[in-house]
Assembly symmetry: C2
Homo-oligomer: 286 residues x 2
Amino acid sequence: MEIKTEIRLGDCKQILKEYNDNIVDLIFTSPPYADQRKKTYGGIPPDKYVDWFLPISEQLLRVLKPTGTFILNIKEKVVNGERSTYVMELILEMRKQGWLWTEEFIWHKRNCYPGKWPNRFRDAWERLLQFNKNKKFNMYQKEVMIPMGDWSKTRLKNLSETDLIRDESKVGSGFGKNISNWLNRDKVYPTNVLHLATECNNKNHSAAFPEGLPTWFIKLFTKSHDVVLDPFMGSGTTNFVAQRMNRNSIGIEIQKKYYDMVKKKIDEKKLVLFEPGEIYGKTKIK
Amino acid sequence: MEIKTEIRLGDCKQILKEYNDNIVDLIFTSPPYADQRKKTYGGIPPDKYVDWFLPISEQLLRVLKPTGTFILNIKEKVVNGERSTYVMELILEMRKQGWLWTEEFIWHKRNCYPGKWPNRFRDAWERLLQFNKNKKFNMYQKEVMIPMGDWSKTRLKNLSETDLIRDESKVGSGFGKNISNWLNRDKVYPTNVLHLATECNNKNHSAAFPEGLPTWFIKLFTKSHDVVLDPFMGSGTTNFVAQRMNRNSIGIEIQKKYYDMVKKKIDEKKLVLFEPGEIYGKTKIK
DNA sequence: GTTCCGCATGAATCGATAG
DNA sequence: ACTATCGATTCATGCGGAA
């Protein structure tokens, strides 16, 4: 069965209405943070963030399957020397909407933004909020097991090898790695703290998360041919990863610039599949 | 000047009323989490947690100096498959009380509690909420600087050796380790993510945090002879650390068992000060 | 083909300056 | 007074060019 990667241009609040109920297995997204990325998105003020987001999360709740999961990557900024509270208010309001706030993963950013201030240190973490429709949901824990033991060494030793196997995916910290290399070793389950560096190699979009992030959650919450949705597509990281992992995906982007960029790359990949002499082996058409 | 370690038996909500305004430089505490430690504290139900805590935080706000800091170690538990929201509600209510929610540090527990559940991974982090009375407060950042990580350079050479060094310094992050060993290297400021292992050596109190935690915050927010307060003293970790670091401290504990235990140990230490041949040097009475 | 080094640059934040 | 913009601060990372 062929994988479909659907890229849409427009406001996700509107576009989502075109989709039926209960069709998505995983929503993974990183919406514009309050008052950030002004140049690209217009910047929602912190005090209006909840009102802006709730109509969208209402649609997300509708299109998500009962067994599906919604992962929301977000972090509140400092305003006037104090942390904003809009993320907490958002969680409280989404629960009233019917969402279950199941878990909060921590993304520890090893290379966080530099800076020096008299009253605070650098911010090195972001929230990955997990929401569900039901207490029972699909979770494939074995897919994200990690090798036990001295893992900084083993990681480094196998870095090049793994990179070759997983084509161009540059993934730090072992998350998102092809762990089939570790079949001979003991493996353990991870915790709810993820260690990944941000990637600085994406020059076309100001705020892409590292590929390891969607990779990890797609492994954990979906199986092959499931449907992944990113309503704030941006540079399309979620969709490219999903495609490579043999998942169907939908990406919605309000800015034509990013839409065009992703659309073009997706189409190029599709074409490659039909070219003679390509190296993708199994995904080659018969 | 001699250091005073004051241990009190009773309900902190009442005991705190005996103290004057603006006398404490740092409050560091880990209150009983909702519905946890039932055997020792009676267990406050999650839905009543905020109401239970607010009268106490009101007293804490009063006794804290305007330049002082309140660090609250807390983590919401899972109830019925969902994360409780009482911590978020508490933050919102404390802000109404007059507290500023300045920052949220993450304590990454390297060796977290074992366990295996079908729908979640092990919880490896806790919140360290920072509250202040004013936007300006005392912060001695240089005291917690850590050696610089030039690991992109060194990881290719001397792999094992350098990894070991880096690992120790990172794990220690200045906690409880003698940083003077690292004078040859340049030092950098830490981030708001702390990596500490939990300590399992305290068999008498069920929920003790590692000494590195109060050590780090006492270094960061107080100077010698300042006053540290722990209104939920438990096994007295905060006070023992404060005493060792030459800070005055107050510890309040509602359970006689823990009170007696800490009281006894504090008194023993005091006696040592008067014994001949003791090694405390400067703190020796004239 | 490696290894090494320099350099640009990030979901940041504060304080000063300008309107 | 109050908001908007800008420069300074700072460090892990990946890239490119050089040895």
